[in-house]
Structure formats: C-alpha cells, structure tokens
Assembly symmetry: C2
Homo-oligomer: 364 residues x 2
C-alpha cells in the first residue's frame, strides 16, 4: 500500500513501505540487472541516496542461479545492495529479439543469453524465482503487446496478462515480499482502461503501466497513462516501467505516476551525455576541451564539486574507466536530486511551477 | 632527501618529503598514466591510504597537453589527485615497439600513440613538461639498454643516460619539485656500478635503478640491485622502477630499495588474479562458484568485509564493470597494507622474520 502524504493536482508524494525500507515516492530506480549498476559501486548508491534499484529475476535465475542466492540468504545479503530491490521478469525484453522467442498460453519462451537454451517462464516459475530471491517487490509476468500489433492480437496479449496476473497471485508465497501487477493494452485506450480496471481489482500491492515508452510518440504515452491512471487505486504505487528521461518522468508524475526505472541515465553517461539543470551536455564536444567549469554548477555531487569538464573530457577521450564512473555517478545523482526536488515541490503544493521552471531550463 | 627512521640490515624506513606530502618509505605507487588509476576513483586512493601515484609526463604532454594542465594550475589541481605524484618520461616504453622509435644523442624519438606523429623528447623538453605539470617528483630521461644488447651498445646507452642526467639537472627549474636520477647498466655489474656512482655524484633528490624487471631472471635483478645499491647515498630514496609483484618487492626492500611502481596489481585484478595473504587467488576458477567466504579473511578492505568470492565471481563472469572495480580496489589495498606492514616490521627490527613468514604463506 502507498501511504499518501500529499497530492498536488494529479501529482502525488507518499511512502511505499517494503520489508527493508520506507521508500519516498515519486522515486527513480537505477537498473541493476545482475545486482550491479554499471560503474557505480553498490555502496555508492547509498551515498547518492538511491532508495531502490531493479534487478532481473530471470537473468539471475540463469546466472548465478537461485540456489546460490538462496544459500547466501537472499538477494540483499548476496549483493550487499543496501537499497530496496524490485525484481522483474524482463518480459519487456520482447523488444529485443535475441532474447525473447514467443509467448504461449503457459508463459513466455525466452532464450538464455548465456548459452542459447530455451526457457519457458511461467507465472509459477517466476514467482518461485522471485520468492527465493527475496527482493522487496516482485513484478508479475505479463504479455506485452508490441505497438504494431493488431487489436485482436493485443486483446489476446491482455487476456494472457490477466490470466497470468491471477496465477502470480496464487503462486506468490513470500509474505514479506510485495507483489505488483502490470496493466497492458497496447495503444488502444479502451483496452488500456479495461486492463487497468482488471489489474486494480486484484489483490496487488502496487500497479504498473506496462508496454509504454518503447518507441511510441510521447503524446500516445501520456494518452495511455491518462486512460489507465483514473482506474488505478489511489492507495497503490503506480509504476511506469522503463522510463528514465527527466522530461518524461516529470510529465508522468504530473499525470499521477509514482515510480520509474530505466538504464537511460547510465547509458547516456557511457555515451558522453550528461544531465544538467540546463539540459543535456555532450562532454566529448570539443568546446569543453579547455573548460575548467564543473558539469553543472548547480549540482552538489562530488564529481561536480571536484572535476572540470576539461578533466572529464580528457578521461573520456583517453577511454579511462574512471570517466565512465564519474559520469554515471553524476547522472544518477542528478536523477536522485531531481526526484527529491519533485517530492518537495509536491509536499509544498508548488509542483506545477517546479515543472514549468524545470522544463524551461532543461533545454534539449 | 630521505630522512631515515630506522634500518634493519639493508632494509630501510624513512620519510621522503615532497611539496605536498611526507611519504613514508618503503612505498608502492599505483600507475596513473593519464592521472587515473584504472577502475579506482581518485578519491578512493586516499581512502585506501595510497601516498603517491606515478603519471606519464610525455603522454600527458600530448593529451590533454601541458597548456591545459598549466591553465588548471598543475597536475594536482587538474586531476584532484590528493596523493603525491611522480612523473616520468615513459622511457621504459622502449620495450613496447609501437611507442618507442629510437634513441639519438639528443633524446628519445617516440611515436605518439594518438596520431602516430614522431616526437623527439630531449632532456630540456622533458624537464619543461614536468616543471609545468608541477608534479612532486620529476624523473630524468634515460636511455635504457635492452638486456640482449652488446656491452658496447650498453656502454653507449649508459653514456647517453649520464649526459642527459646532467642536462636534466641544468633544465630543471621548478624549485619545489624534486628530481630523481636514473642509473642504468644493463646486466653488466661493472657498468651498473659505474652508473650508480656517477648518478650518485650528481645533485639529485633521489636515485633509481632503471631497466630492471623487464624480463631478466630474478636472480639477475637482485645481482644488479646489489651492485648498485652500495654506491647509492644513504640519504636518498632508492626507486626500483616497474616492480609491483609482492615477492619481488619484499626481496628488493631486503636489498635496500625504498620505492616501487607498477601496473601489476591492477592488471592482475582485471585478469582475475587477486593477491591474498595466502598467495594468488584466481577468482574465475569454478571452485569459487558457491564460495561465500571473502577473498582474504585477513584483509580488512571493504571488498573483503562485504563481498563473497561467489558474488565477485558472478560479477566477473557477467562482465560487470563493478567487478573490475572491486578486484582492483582489493589488490591496491593489499599492496598498501603490505607496504605498511613492511614499514612497521623495519621500525620494530623484525623485517627478516616478517619477510620469511610472508614468503612462506604467499604461495605462488
């Protein structure tokens, strides 16, 4: 359940209580697929103030295997991640053909990225994996329709998603672990609404908008969010899966979303793009060659407090691993501060002004 | 000058005072060629207790260029490395053909690793670069004979080394920066002795054994060290260049050396090999798959305090960058503790016993 603290129009702030932590919402989760955020030390996540990360249950079940993680007494003790941890099936990997094979009525057929072997991931199996991993929040398995699928195919996917949602509840045995449902519906508002209603009717601890931000025009994304959000219960955390772009996040919060995850900030850092209060900064750009200013003078992360653009560019051009560390750290720090500022603005009933100012300054 | 605190047979402990720091000897320097130790944050070096690193003056003069580093007010302010910093010419790169072209009477002809252009590095140029970088300790440029060179060729290289040493003193203008000389001599004890005497006769702040540990049998290495060390002044730091293997270091300290640098610990970490009090541990080995013990139960680094062999192996197999960070951190921490323990044992006149016990436990 989400304990609401304040709402400002549709935007909300509250507390999601999990077994390890009281997470303040809205929040952003860095992706730690294999229990590691790329280039950011597990302990540095705490230094930054990250409340929660998301790992991939299916991948972890293949390697290192749930037997080892069980022996280590769960994902927290195994990884020493001192944040809350969501786990999911990686069903969204449907958009990556190398990984996803097909959906059947029984579950999703995946190809192991390690040895190419086929694995049928059923609701029962996925619940067993996640129960054993002992993460804070387990996600159901869903059948994500792609956006170019016909309405008939989308209906079929939504039906499977609903059937699997019920089965996940049935097989979810870890009482200290929360379980979130996922609503689908492609780009069809009526299917989106029906799915939101159905998922909301089940006994989940939170709900998710699935299958969005996978390439559709952003106007469509918000249309789908709006069609579903009104059917989601007030007292459940609403998770918009796979979104990590600051502009999209602030707009989705304005529409009523509470929770986000994406590799976007760390991937951007590794590809030279930094988030700053003035928008994106491409560090490899030659104009920063002799620039002794910090990445963002408004940022109080230790990277901005210590290193110049010229130094970071030097390390990046020299392919020094520390460059990727410093830049990833900054972007994750930026995201975390951004979410903190959003929460404060909602508490103080000035989210609309905060959003307007942010988007004005954050030039693309 | 080196302020000696105690000697235990040939082994010595003391203080090398540089402009930024009092370095306790003997000490080990991680390599930060471009002002970054691979996978270890500049600030983590302080957390580990690293006193000093070594950067490459020639490489930095090419990229990002000394103009930028001068604008940033020197290598410390540019990189925020909060350790003492040695700089050298990278003349030892003679063993890497892609880099070194040839020695002439005027200096060393290098090929830029960035654009292939030729650069003649003269004593005057190298001193100007290092004076501008403003490191704590500048190294002279030397002509390193390879071990398969004839005695005549080695004599020629030693003569050049001596001529350049005098020129380096002449062109060294940064009064706060120390300047170390380098003695050569190939594998000829008489040339080694003569070179040690000549270099010792000049007004250097420290002296180095050059051109050792580049592939010769280790018996030869110690023979050459012994032939030179007796001619080196007591009150000057003795730097054995390019050595980073724990067994070699402890033997060299026993012979009278004070200072070491090498990429060996970080390179080993990146290639799965960890240093422990019981010797080398190859983390990718399948026997560690389910091993929940730390890398080294006698190590108090945060990696050993928190992560299991099984977890580190999992990250390494998954090619997670954090694996390289944790493993590099451990190896550098190990080296630093090792040097600290050696210093204490010399202070307490029990170095011989420490050495014997260490080598007994540190099985290859």
């Amino acid at each position: 359940m989400l304990k609401l603290i304040n709402t400002d129009n549709q935007a909300r702030t509250g507390i999601l209580k999990t077994k390890t932590r009281n997470i303040e919402t809205p929040f952003f989760m860095p992706v730690a697929t294999k229990t590691a955020v790329k280039y950011i030390d597990n302990f540095e996540l705490n230094k930054i103030g990250i409340q929660c990360v998301i790992s991939n249950a299916f991948i972890l079940s293949l390697k290192p295997g749930i037997r080892l993680i069980k022996k280590a007494k769960g994902i927290h003790k195994f990884s020493k991640l001192n944040t809350a941890i969501f786990t999911d099936s990686g069903g969204f990997q449907k958009i990556r053909e190398s990984f996803f094979i097909k959906s059947t009525d029984k579950g999703v057929l995946f190809r192991s990225p390690f040895d190419g072997k086929k694995h049928l991931l059923t609701p029962k199996k996925l619940m067993n994996i996640q129960n054993t991993l002992d993460s804070d929040v387990a996600m159901v398995i869903d059948d994500m329709p792609l956006h170019d699928e016909s309405k008939a195919a989308t209906i079929k996917a939504v039906e499977r998603t609903h059937k699997w949602a019920e089965e996940c509840i049935k097989y979810h045995k870890n009482k200290k672990q929360l379980l979130f449902g996922i609503a689908q519906g492609g780009l069809y508002p009526d299917l989106r609404e029906a799915s939101a209603k159905f998922i909301s009717s089940l006994d989940f601890d939170g709900v998710a908008f699935g299958g969005l931000a996978i390439g559709e025009p952003s106007k469509q994304t918000y249309k789908m969010i709006n069609s579903q959000v009104k059917h989601f219960p007030e007292n459940k955390t609403r998770y918009l899966m796979g979104v990590g772009c600051p502009e999209q996040i602030i707009n989705a919060i304005d529409a009523g979303a509470d929770c986000f995850d994406s590799t976007f900030p760390t991937q951007n850092a590794r590809h030279n793009t930094l988030f700053t209060s003035k928008g994106k900064l491409v560090i490899k750009n030659s104009k920063y060659k002799n620039d002794l200013k910090p990445l963002d003078k408004n940022c109080d992360c230790y990277v901005c407090q210590n290193f110049s653009r010229a130094y970071l560019r030097h390390l990046m051009k020299a392919k020094e691993p520390n460059a990727l560390k410093y830049l990833s750290y900054h972007n994750i720090y930026f995201m975390n501060s951004f979410m903190k500022d959003i929460r404060t603005s909602i508490k103080e009933n000035r989210f609309q002004k905060f959003k307007k100012d942010f988007l004005k300054n954050y030039k693309k």
